[in-house]
Symmetry: C3
Subunit: 150 residues, 3 copies
């Protein structure tokens, strides 16, 4: 079962324990985790959160109590990721920037959040957005769409 060395609170629901990859992370009481989710080392997720299917939460992320993470949400911890170093050898270290998500935040599905960002309490991030800047408490943020129709 790919749930290794996690500190899991009371009443946490992991709907399909064989279809997630969680390691060395902390999941608060009452939080719910869908299938096809990866949560990496040192992530701290608060109480009563919902982490929806297909989401990826990397090392360096902290999520406050009561926050909703939609489906296919992707966090980032290295702004300039590389597979190899200058000599062509596979990299084992990377530059990590932390991402802090407040309480009762709502992160829509298919959102990507750049590293180094702080999202305040009660913020709402619209589906499909790319977030690259901090948001103060209670902000609503979404990408403006330009579309073509034939």
């Amino acid at each position: 079962m790919p749930i290794v060395n996690c500190k899991i609170g009371k009443n946490v629901k992991i709907f399909h324990p064989k279809l997630v990859n969680l390691y060395n992370c902390q999941i608060g009481e009452g939080t719910q985790i869908g299938p096809f989710v990866e949560i990496q080392s040192d992530v701290i997720i608060g109480k009563n959160c919902k982490i929806s299917s297909h989401s990826f939460i990397c090392s360096g992320v902290r999520i406050g109590d009561g926050t909703f993470v939609g489906h296919s949400v992707v966090f980032i911890n290295d702004r300039y990721p590389k597979a190899v170093d200058a000599k062509g050898k596979i990299k084992k270290q990377w530059l990590m920037e932390n991402t802090i998500i407040g309480k009762k935040v709502s992160i829509g599905s298919s959102v990507t959040i750049m590293c180094g960002v702080k999202i305040g309490n009660n913020c709402t991030i619209g589906a499909g957005s790319l977030v690259v800047k901090n948001l103060n408490n209670n902000k609503i943020f979404y990408n403006k769409i330009f579309s073509k129709l034939k």
Copy 2:
């Protein structure tokens, strides 16, 4: 095997039954379903559809015959998702808006479709688009891209 209580038509192909999460849904004859797909309660998928890997089809979605759903396509059913109610308790109910996809539609990969939308027959939705409005039959829709190159 995470396929529970589904009504599955003849000649449906689920390529990796251990790598999907399907429950209480209906899959029409001849439809094909890739790995890492979740299909939730009450979804109805027509005949001869292709549901590609990493897609998420939530309660409230109906998909017509002969429709193609690309990879990492995400549907939505709650416009304002929240993990918790005003008292901080985890929410068990949500406001659901239905999404109706016509016949022989082509939904490109990485598309996100907002809830409450109706997509007509034979529509084509370009890869990476966010769809928030209805489309009449035979429309081609895609997000306009603005890009920077250094």
Copy 3:
């Protein structure tokens, strides 16, 4: 185990062999592959690459040595995908356009790459981008974001 008929080089790391779907593909020496990844027939991936979780690499894609593929990256091989032919029968063939990724490229998370594209060596593609054109060596490419804040 859904790893079938693959040519896998020395020191390749597939962190969760039960949570990937790899078939008829070639993975170069030292490359690392995360969970929830699908790699299809005839794909060739070079040495010392990192293929991150939730990525989809379809037939027709070739990836050079030392390239980083972020999380939830999606490749495409058919520009006009359809589930069924004119008679409504499920399609078994499709029009494939190849995609060639150079060496030491960095593809950010949630990137979607249209088929038929060539990406030169050492290119960097920003997270969340949709790439539809070729990139010469050493280019940095990203989608410009327009966002609204309330």
